[in-house]
Subunit: 236 residues, 2 copies
Amino acid sequence: MNRYAHAKRMLVAIDCIIFGFDGEELDLLLIKRNFEPEKGNWSLMGGFLNEDEDLEDGAERILYDLTGLKNIYVEQIATFGKVDRDPVERTLSVVFFALINIKDHDQEAVKAHNAHWITLGKKPKLIFDHDIMVGRALEHLRYNAALHPLGFELLPEKFTIPQLQKLYEAIYDMKLDRRNFSRKILSTKLLIDTGEKDNNSTTKKANLFRLDKARYQQKFYSFWHFMPDPALPESL
Amino acid sequence: MNRYAHAKRMLVAIDCIIFGFDGEELDLLLIKRNFEPEKGNWSLMGGFLNEDEDLEDGAERILYDLTGLKNIYVEQIATFGKVDRDPVERTLSVVFFALINIKDHDQEAVKAHNAHWITLGKKPKLIFDHDIMVGRALEHLRYNAALHPLGFELLPEKFTIPQLQKLYEAIYDMKLDRRNFSRKILSTKLLIDTGEKDNNSTTKKANLFRLDKARYQQKFYSFWHFMPDPALPESL
DNA sequence: TGGTAATGTGTCAATTCGACACAATGTTTT
DNA sequence: AAAACATTGTGTCGAATTGACACATTACCA
């Protein structure tokens, strides 16, 4: 038990990288800090982990506090632990990333926190190691969006295939062939044609699709993905 | 600054999942604890993060302490933070996984820690949430071994293609076609034929290959992998 | 010296992929 | 009202990749 007695207790922060999609580019929800430390500079949304709170609950609390949203897509990415990463006091930061439909958030709550949606390409310099965190989050998004049907979290419930394509083009910063993309997406049988049309369009109105949620759950691990499903052995 | 004053400081542990490969199956290096808490039960190798120590340095210290090895493959997987995961006191655990060549470790150091190599299929029940950690580590290994040339970390410097195949079969718990596997691996141009033969064999001696390390670095992100390399934008 | 076991290499059909063309729809312009 | 324009839906075709399978080679052993 001596081990416990001699070990150092330290602060644990939670920082959230919040991705949205405005129809053309990926956006981040960032805070213009009106509090110390680093008042006046940009940072991720964050907070300290409470004594009686699980990590995931902490992340959800912080995200709810800023956006007013619950049940959004949240995933832990990594923990940052350099000794001097926070100049005030040694603080570990557990980083989460969240994908939200940019139309859904509570505008009042966002304004109250002095938060702003910023296009990824125009991201200002962030405090501490937050720039590295964003880089890691983007890498994570690129990895997982190719292997899992993650992208749908960033779109409204009903969306068109050209919208979905623009999203993937924004994530990977590349152009994709319209016809091949459509063929590949439809071959997953993950989309259901609602029969409705996108009336926002000024030219030919595209078909609106929605996710087949049951199939989505079932295919989470095999979408665009050639590995055996990571079924764990009985003993685990 | 008040935020800092009111936040709770807590213990931070590091736990390591150490994978090895015995030529037939995946193995884990586990501790039969001769210290409290949970004395007599099995656990992962771990320890507390020191005050003046980066996370990765802590993981390397703990791994060196147990195996006598440095410069091994180590990767952070996730942080576990359930409030009651450690019954003694609230403790976060940052989990790392390490891949080592099972022949290389320091036998004395391992014995001194009462550690043992256990075949994954015969893993005993572990303490706390360590079973879940092992599950997550295996999932991580399966993910990444398909996308990156990770497997080589588990093999000696010179290895044969049939050895490599057995490793992949152990990781994914499935049989692969010998001829197609060979074709796929060789098509990566990642292996260099040393010209030597494997003299351990009692039948036809297989060719010994080694990794083309330069190409390995270069191809880390495109090996068996169809996404664009995650090159980050200038701003990150 | 022939039998056995494991390795190295080749073939072939089915599928998938990437590049590309054309028809259909809805708006705007003349 | 018709022509021009922008965007969407669908099809084709050759090339590359994949999965299933066969055969020759090497080394040990009886």
